[in-house]
């Protein structure tokens, strides 16, 4: 437990040693704001909520989270530091969890930096703060799921670029599974049932239901179990591939 904390602390600190981290924070905060105001028609909607703000989060994550997760294992493997790391007296599970938690906390910081948005809507009107809190939670959860996916992809390769691109494609696919666009595309081909099944595996539908303020345990479990599976897969990949 203490070891997990030590590992997480180091990984977290290491984010701020690379420019990528600062760029990530800057892009995330500014882009999430800009998208809300321009694409999301924040003022035009005339409603005091953050719906349009959260709507864009999964799409931002699809491109930005892989930039955070690509380094996780690929860089350790490329530089060879993985050898030192994996001969410390900690289990592979703790190592994976430590890196994951650090990355998640880092993305958490990015979310915290968007709090001015929340203050703004409260200043402009009278939003349902419960829904906003839930939406933040949902956003944080889906970010965690993307990160665990990225962690698994990063463990498979020594190249950060490959890790980035593959994680992005995979995230895109999983998000897309739940989107209307895909549903419309296949509505003629697949039966209703198949579409429903597809959709239930899509990230978007679970995310959207949470951001509407409906606290459904199944949505929470969906993200948590998805993350669990990817992290577990990371452990397996590492134990098999670490030295190759």
């Amino acid at each position: 437990m203490k070891a997990l904390f030590v590992l997480t602390k180091r990984e977290f600190a290491s984010y701020f040693m690379t420019p990528v981290a600062w760029i990530f924070l800057m892009i995330f905060v500014s882009l999430s704001g800009l998208l809300t105001f321009y694409a999301g028609d924040f003022f035009g909607r005339g409603q005091a909520d953050l719906q349009s703000f959260f709507l864009f989060h999964p799409w931002l994550y699809v491109f930005l989270i892989p930039a955070v997760s690509m380094r996780m294992w690929a860089e350790e493997r490329r530089s060879g530091t993985i050898e030192m790391l994996m001969t410390l007296p900690v289990s592979t599970g703790e190592l994976v969890l430590g890196k994951f938690l650090a990355a998640w906390a880092f993305v958490g910081i990015a979310l915290i930096l968007t709090l001015p948005m929340w203050l703004t809507v409260n200043y402009l009107g009278d939003p349902d703060n419960g829904v906003i809190l839930m939406s933040y939670l949902a956003s944080f959860l889906i970010a965690g799921t993307f990160l665990s996916l990225g962690s698994c992809v990063s463990a498979c390769t020594k190249s950060q670029i490959i890790a980035f691109v593959s994680a992005m494609m995979a995230s895109l696919l999983l998000t897309f599974l739940g989107s209307d666009a895909l549903i419309n595309l296949f509505s003629g081909v697949a039966t209703e049932k198949v579409m429903k099944l597809f959709q239930s595996f899509g990230f978007l539908i679970h995310f959207l239901s949470l951001t509407r303020g409906v606290l459904d345990v199944r949505d929470l479990l969906f993200f948590i179990s998805f993350s669990g599976v990817f992290l577990f897969a990371t452990v397996i990949v590492l134990d098999h591939k670490k030295a190759v």
Partner: protein, 319 residues
């Protein structure tokens, strides 16, 4: 205490370590030698739990590496061949991290870090990012990282590679000091180092042990072992030659004029035993004066070459 029982490691169909068995008791410093690609690093990675053997069993301090990897890692200090530290961290923060990850906190941590900084002489680079250190200093940080928790077993993969002569010396002294309550395996390509700090030398080639003995015993396998160089005054040269020719147990391989007054004879014993006493006695009986004399102990390098070079004739170490 380290034991390897019939350990094999394959990469695909390539056998990097081939049915290797050995035991390293407490108090032993084992020099692990072999040509490039012999399987030294692979073996050390398996002991440290980084690589899993394809077959065989490894135990460290009584714990099975396959069954109890975390407990094994707790007892090992391992210095990998490459990249044994995070380049973006400073020396001090890296050592603090490693010490904490090894379960030492508070004053125990501070004491351990302070001691290792003194032992490895790192005090003047503490706040420098490791990336900006010279190669030798990087190696030293790697060594510090392996020693900081005072482990019962040390696995060092070419620890002195890239160190300056002074540092090499200090590390040798350090390792000799650490020796008494630890099992240590050191791989190296610097053969004098083995004589200086190891109590046992194992030479492997193509994943198999080819020689395993004390450095002194290995040296005695050298072609030039017990070769005698005798300096004789010029006016006694002829007589000395006759004396040597009459001795059945030696061959004169070389006679060289050293100066106007002296000749140097090179005598190789036909057997493995020392012929010094016989030679001295034979010369004394003829009243031939020995101006100077020295005995070649042999060189590990020759033995290494004889047993691992691609064009070696197969030799029996007991012949």
């Amino acid at each position: 205490m380290i034991t390897l029982e019939n350990v094999t490691r394959k990469f695909g169909s390539f056998v990097a370590v081939d049915n290797l068995s050995m035991t390293v008791p407490k108090g032993q410093v084992l020099g692990f030698l072999g040509p490039n690609g012999a399987g030294k690093t692979t073996t050390m990675r398996m002991i440290s739990g980084f690589l899993t053997p394809s077959a065989g069993k490894i135990t460290v301090c009584g714990y099975d590496v396959a069954e109890d990897p975390v407990e094994v890692k707790r007892h090992i200090g391992y210095m990998p061949e490459v990249a044994s530290s995070y380049g973006d961290m400073t020396v001090l923060s890296f050592l603090n991290f490693i010490t904490e990850a090894r379960g030492l906190f508070g004053s125990a941590k501070e004491k351990a870090v302070e001691k290792v900084i003194a032992d490895i002489s790192l005090s003047n680079v503490l706040y420098q990012p490791i990336d900006t250190l010279s190669k030798g200093y990087k190696r030293r940080v790697g060594l510090a990282q392996a020693l900081v928790h005072d482990p019962a077993v040390l696995i060092l993969d070419e620890p002195t590679e890239g160190l300056d002569p002074n540092q090499k010396r200090e590390i040798r002294t350090l390792i000799r000091d650490l020796q008494k309550d630890k099992s240590i395996i050191i791989s190296t390509h610097v053969l004098e180092e083995v004589e200086a700090m190891c109590s046992r030398a194992v030479i492997i080639d193509k994943g198999k042990i080819v020689l395993d003995d004390t450095p002194r015993a290995l040296i005695s396998l050298s072609e030039t072992h017990q070769t005698l160089f005798v300096l004789i005054a010029s006016y006694q040269r002829e007589r000395a030659q006759t004396v040597f020719n009459e001795m059945a147990q030696i061959t004169v391989t070389d006679v060289k004029q050293e100066s106007d007054e002296a000749f140097l004879f090179t005598l190789i014993p036909k057997g493995r035993e020392s012929v010094t006493a016989d030679v001295v006695e034979a010369l004394r009986r003829q009243d031939i004066k020995i101006l100077d004399m020295f005995i070649e102990k042999g060189r590990l390098e020759e033995v290494f070459y004889a047993f691992t070079s691609p064009d070696r004739e197969l030799k029996d170490p007991n012949a």
